[in-house]
């Protein structure tokens, strides 16, 4: 199969085109700029629409309208822009519309910087906007996986009529890697009889709404949403294991930090230290099974490594409920975790186990 060299941000765009997405609404922000640049050229080639909105607030509401009209639609931004979209994402979640939101995370809080970060984990997996809602959150760790997971994101969005977030960081967005494109996947978009297309002969009107003035009604909506989220938790957990089955120290890391952690695992294994990696691919629903399974096996300690002050750490601790010690190593502000730093932490844990 032919391999092409592709930048991560462009891969998000090409993944969307392969998924049948023909509508993109966004607002410029670094470090995700190559994604809109790519789609501004690419979408017109396939009869699609690229539209630059006046703000992230407008962009997410254009997404709301396009999704309501039945389209496969995407927007992308980076941390501060994603903050601005949160109100809209909450509306989209309550109105049960499918769409894909890409966050190429940068250093925060505030204006922060444009360096790579994973500091939006809480925002992505714990809701982000107001009210009780959840989004499936996918975290690719290579340019190839970007291409593949963006297609998955659209399928999940349609399957659950829910917004889906795909998170990367500045490194994933900016780096180039060879990818196998292959023939475009067969896109099967489910029928959308609920879409506001104009009645066009349909007997009843369609209404897209998130207003339920009677608390009894709104509670019913919430219970329906919650049962949908439980179904996601049953069916959609994804993760990768690397030398995890016989490991005594398991690193838990997602996205680019997992790539760094793999190098640490390889180095430790060469030194005869049984280290493994569990890489959550879905951050929500969080893949707790491999952690729980590991804790009943040879694993003596876990190390969570992130480019933040310890956010996924909370989910790892919740999954393990104190069964094993959970250590943490993180850098913040757009600083990368280096192989040497993570290795140092692993060695410290390993020495402590003796």
């Amino acid at each position: 199969m032919e391999k092409v060299l592709m930048k991560g941000n462009e891969a998000f765009g090409e993944g969307a085109v392969r998924a049948g997405c023909r509508h993109f609404f966004g607002y410029p922000i670094t470090p995700q700029s190559e994604l809109p640049h790519y789609l501004a050229r690419r979408l017109p080639e396939v009869g699609g629409v690229y539209l630059q909105a006046e703000s992230e607030v407008a962009a997410i509401n254009m997404v709301y309208g396009a999704a309501a009209a039945g389209a496969r639609v995407m927007t992308s931004s980076s941390s501060p822009g994603i903050s601005l979209m949160q109100e809209g994402i909450s509306y989209i979640a309550c109105a049960e519309l499918p769409c894909v939101v890409v966050n190429i995370m940068r250093g925060g809080p505030g204006l922060g910087n444009i360096a790579a970060s994973q500091a939006d984990y809480f925002q992505a997996v714990k809701g982000g906007g107001h009210g009780d809602y959840r989004l499936p959150v996918l975290a690719p760790a290579s340019v190839q996986e970007v291409i593949d997971l963006v297609v998955t994101a659209f399928d999940l969005a349609d399957k659950y009529r829910n917004p889906v977030m795909v998170v990367g960081d500045g490194i994933l967005g900016q780096m180039m890697e060879p990818v196998k494109l292959g023939p475009p996947p067969e896109v099967t978009t489910p029928p959308k009889p609920w879409a506001t297309t104009g009645t066009l002969g349909r007997k009843s009107r369609n209404i897209i709404n998130s207003l339920y003035i009677e608390p009894e009604e709104l509670e019913k909506v919430n219970l329906r949403l919650q049962s949908k989220y439980r179904r996601m938790e049953e069916e959609e957990k994804r993760w990768e294991e690397y030398h995890a089955t016989d490991a005594e120290v398991v690193i838990v890391a997602f996205g680019m930090v997992a790539r760094i952690a793999k190098a640490v695992v390889d180095k430790m294994r060469k030194a005869g230290i049984p280290v493994g990696l569990i890489r959550p691919v879905t951050l929500y629903p969080f893949p707790d099974q491999p952690l729980v399974a590991g804790s009943s096996g040879p694993v003596k300690a876990f190390l969570v490594a992130e480019m933040n002050a310890g956010q996924m750490l909370e989910d790892v601790r919740l999954a393990l409920c104190g069964r094993r010690p959970v250590h943490f190593y993180g850098r913040t502000g757009g600083m990368l975790t280096s192989v040497a730093e993570v290795e140092g932490k692993v060695r410290e844990i390993w020495e402590g186990l003796k």
């Binding site: 009645t199 009107r205 209404i207």
Partner: protein, 248 residues
């Protein structure tokens, strides 16, 4: 027996929730009649605001979307870009359109988005309890300008039709009122024209409609109609601010 008049098919049977003397009901009917008369009810998608017209999706007899506060033009843009053959309108009040949604209002016009906006200006926030709107008149008392709106504290009334008419993508911009039968007929013609501008693909169209709010103005319905005539129309002159050359 010949049918002299009948209820428009553009409205559902749902009883309106608006206060006695409020002219939202008239404006709803005019919009609904226009859509029906143009024969586009089945391909129309309406977008309603946050504010008094928040429940408008229960009244307009077509596919409807309820948008976040101020974002109806962005939502309408999303719909229209997916379904260019559809007829898309937004129905928004002065807080929604001229305060929190000002950016969306300006840019939907600048893109020349082929949608129609019905802008109901009653110089006050109704749903939230009579607070100052961007269109509140100088000296007008509201719950947040209890001594009357003073320019040095709260700025000046915003003239939306005049503002939007300066934008190149705006094709048809007009201001009407619904305080007299004559003005109501004129308003109907303007709304029909605005939808025609959209259907002909000429660009963005906006009809600003001066409307009453007896409840928050603290006036009886007849007094409110007089107040609209004597106070609002002088501050917000009626007429076309922009129209396609050569007519519609």
């Amino acid at each position: 027996m010949a049918v002299a008049t009948r209820r428009t098919q553009g409205l559902t049977d749902k009883q309106l929730h608006y206060c006695p003397g409020c002219t939202h009901g008239i404006i709803h009917r005019l919009v609904a009649e226009a859509i029906e008369e143009l024969g586009v009810l089945e391909k129309t998608v309406g977008v309603c605001p946050v504010g008094c017209a928040v429940f408008a999706y229960e009244y307009f007899n077509c596919d409807m979307i309820e948008a976040a506060h101020g974002r109806a033009p962005a939502v309408a843009t999303g719909v229209k870009r997916v379904l260019p053959e559809s007829v898309v309108f937004t129905y928004q009040g002065d807080g929604d359109l001229a305060a929190i949604g000002t950016a969306e209002t300006v840019h939907v016009a600048s893109r020349g988005e082929k949608i129609t906006t019905v802008f109901v200006n009653n110089a006050v926030y109704g749903m939230t309890g009579g607070q100052m709107a961007p269109t509140t008149l100088l000296g007008q008392k509201t719950t947040t300008t209890p001594f009357g709106r003073q320019a040095d504290v709260a700025g000046f009334p915003l003239r939306v039709a005049e503002l939007v008419a300066t934008i190149e993508g705006a094709a048809y911009i007009t201001r009407v009122a619904v305080n007299t039968p004559k003005n109501i007929l004129r308003a109907k013609k303007a709304i029909l024209k605005a939808f025609n501008v959209q259907i002909q693909g000429l660009g963005f169209s906006l009809v600003e409609v001066l409307s009453t709010c007896p409840t928050n103005w603290g006036l009886s319905p007849p007094e409110a109609l007089r107040w609209l005539k004597e106070k609002m129309i002088p501050a917000y002159p009626l007429g076309e601010f922009k129209a396609p050359e050569g007519g519609v």
